[in-house]
Amino acid sequence: MAGARKPRLAVHKFASCDGCQLTLLDCEDQLLDVVGEIEIAYFLEATRQEIRGPYDVSLVEGSITTAHDIERVRRVRAQSKMLIAIGSCATAGGVQALRNTADIDALARAVYPNPEYFQTLTTSTAIQDHVKVDFELRGCPISREQLIEVVSAYLTRRKPNIPNYSQCMECKQAGTVCVMVAHGTPCLGPVTQAGCGNVCPSCERGCYGCFGPKEKANAKSLARWFEGSLGLSGRQTHDLYRTFNAGAPAFCEVGLAAIGEKTDETVAEVTR
């Protein structure tokens, strides 16, 4: 066909803080070049212009928390050749997935005098729990470099080079001193997927797991280490595992076990 049409990119938002889509605008050095290669067809945070689907690539931020959003994400999927879930909310339900194991009515009453004014699901779930996802970019927030990599890989039709090994690898590669070995600081690095640029250990802080569990993470063994060797209470272990990837199955299960709670079937269902 003559006249190569630029691929159309759409950015969609569900329950989230906007930080991951902001990362696209934070590619200051690349933004104008990217726009030369791609047509931004739908990106409400940046433009009034709306080009109707279908889209070649959809970046989806946020988690699913309302019945209306279940319908909406299905429409996004139907309109998108490739769907990339970006960030912890879209890949694991986000910090708001803490509601999945809490009493939702109590949560709503803690914030709103009249919770009956709005409707919400009792769970906050990942995009892949509702539709097929072609690729996931982890992180709370995602890494700018990984976002550029995944878009470049799409444009040149190659596989994106996104590692699935642990944060520990990243620390070793960067020559960052191990905070757990050197200072006894609890760190989720051994069970967390790499990609952030080992930002926490570089600040002499333990990793808080915002890139979520790495493939085959042995979260249970690390929890035993926290409690046995570093003297953490079950509650402390729970809080470590259950923050920005509270709904990720590997973290959710071990976190709940640390406070003597089992992953019941509903939780297993929503966290898959």
Partner: protein, 440 residues
């Protein structure tokens, strides 16, 4: 949710609809019903799905609050980190030394710069040029957009140098920092800061030539003040005219309330005195004399007096504040000799504490009650957009009243622009805009 709560007037009605407000952070809608050339109903509705942060914080350690509340907003995470940290430090009786306070002010200036430049140049400026987005500005004036992107990047670089990354920085905590930022890494940014001052002035001069819609309002301005510096994290809460309210007295005077048409709580003064304004114009009007000479001179060149009453000029005020922030950045980096200790010691005890700082969009108030074990018993957060919501509705009413003869499409755009004056962070207040105007 539906518009079923909105009464539809009888008779043939003229309807204008915006299904999605762009260039804001979040999801919202506007409904206007006009009959006999009079506005019968006007609602600015936020339907960002609720995430229940105040509920999720219950039972968590005091030390989790800054990182968790940062996730309320990816555009102003430092505002949440600092508000929560200040509140915890008040509850736990922690004294934060001057050098840590200065370093916090520095990362906060980075956030003001990136957020203000993003909004002024990329989200708000296109409205004044009748363009859809900043990329269309780039087609006509690439140098202007390149300068704005480079300036925004400087803000992000400051945040990343101090905080480890620009969105959701990790090096901050209750008491201070995990690791003292490197003197050298900050000093290398100084030439860029010098360039940035000139670039911010050029952007302000360019924006000051825009045609500003004719609308003024005598705002009740609520901001931090009663302090020597132009406030970011300092002082008391002040109301236009000079009345100062200590932070722990704020909730005695102001309250949150819920309306059926929004998932964001609104805020109001308990004395019934009506809507109030927070954000750049409120800060500027209450603290003009505390701006640097260079920032004040730039404001005068842009045609701004010491009191701004036209909300469309908030874009100019953002650039004035950007100039002031850049000068603060230079001052703090030049004086930085490292931190005596990266953080102040923190001992756990029961207590209640308030924190309030100037997020780019206005005061963001936090209050926490802690148990003896340092776990959060109760949390309250009042983000700026919740506080501005009633004032946004008031402005919309005024703007629509003045422009009833406008064609639907033009009036719709003007309403969007009016809302964008506030740089509303709907993620914060709970988030997108749908506009419906019905008129006979």
């Amino acid at each position: 949710m539906s518009l079923s709560d909105v009464t539809r007037g009888g008779g043939p009605a003229r309807v204008i609809k915006v299904d999605a407000l762009a260039r804001v952070e979040g999801e919202g809608a506007l409904y206007v019903r006009v009959r006999n050339n009079e506005i019968r109903d006007l609602k600015f509705r936020i339907y960002e799905p609720p995430r229940f942060f105040e509920g999720l914080l219950r039972g968590r350690m005091y030390s989790d609050a800054p990182d968790i509340t940062a996730r309320i907003c990816g555009i102003c995470p430092v505002a949440y980190i600092m508000g929560a940290s200040h509140a915890m430090e008040a509850a736990l009786g922690v004294d934060v030394p001057r050098d840590i306070h200065e370093m916090r002010r520095l990362i906060y200036c980075g956030e003001w710069i990136q957020s203000h430049v993003l909004h002024a140049a990329m989200l708000h400026a296109p409205d004044f040029l009748g363009l859809q987005d900043a990329l269309q500005i780039a087609a006509a004036n690439p140098d202007l957009v390149k300068a704005a992107l480079r300036l925004k990047k400087l803000g992000n670089d400051l945040m990343a140098t101090i905080g480890g990354r620009a969105v959701h920085p990790v090096n901050t905590k209750v008491g201070g920092f995990y690791k003292a930022p490197s003197i050298e890494a900050l000093r290398v940014l100084l030439p860029e800061v010098e360039w940035g001052l000139g670039a911010a002035e050029t952007l302000l001069d360019a924006f000051s030539g825009f045609d500003f819609p004719d609308y003024d309002y005598d705002y009740t301005c609520v901001s931090l003040g009663n302090t020597t510096a132009y406030p970011i994290m300092e002082g008391d809460i002040v109301v236009s005219g000079g009345e100062a309210i200590p932070l722990d007295g704020f909730m005695d005077r102001y309250e949150e309330f819920q309306v059926a048409h929004s998932t964001s709580l609104h805020a109001r003064p308990k004395d019934g005195s009506g809507p109030y304004l927070v954000g750049p114009i409120a800060r500027y009007n209450n603290n003009f004399d505390r701006l640097s000479t260079r920032a004040r001179d730039a404001a005068r060149r842009a045609g701004l007096g010491p009191i701004v009453t036209n909300p469309f000029k908030s874009l100019l005020v953002r650039m004035v504040e950007t100039i002031h922030a850049l000068e603060e950045v230079r001052r703090i980096i030049e004086g930085y000799r490292g931190l005596a200790a990266p953080s102040a010691p923190v001992a756990v005890r029961a207590g209640t504490g308030c924190g309030c700082t100037e997020a780019p969009r206005g005061i963001c108030f936090h209050r926490y009650e802690l148990g003896e074990d340092g776990r959060i018993a109760k949390a309250l957060i009042m983000p700026p957009t919740s506080q501005n919501q009633p004032q946004i509705e008031r402005d919309l009413r005024g703007v629509v009243e003045k422009n009833l003869d406008m064609a639907d499409e033009d009036l719709k755009w003007l309403c969007e622009q009016t809302i964008r004056n506030y740089d509303p962070c709907i993620s914060c207040s709970c988030h997108f805009l749908e506009l419906t105007i019905e008129r006979e």
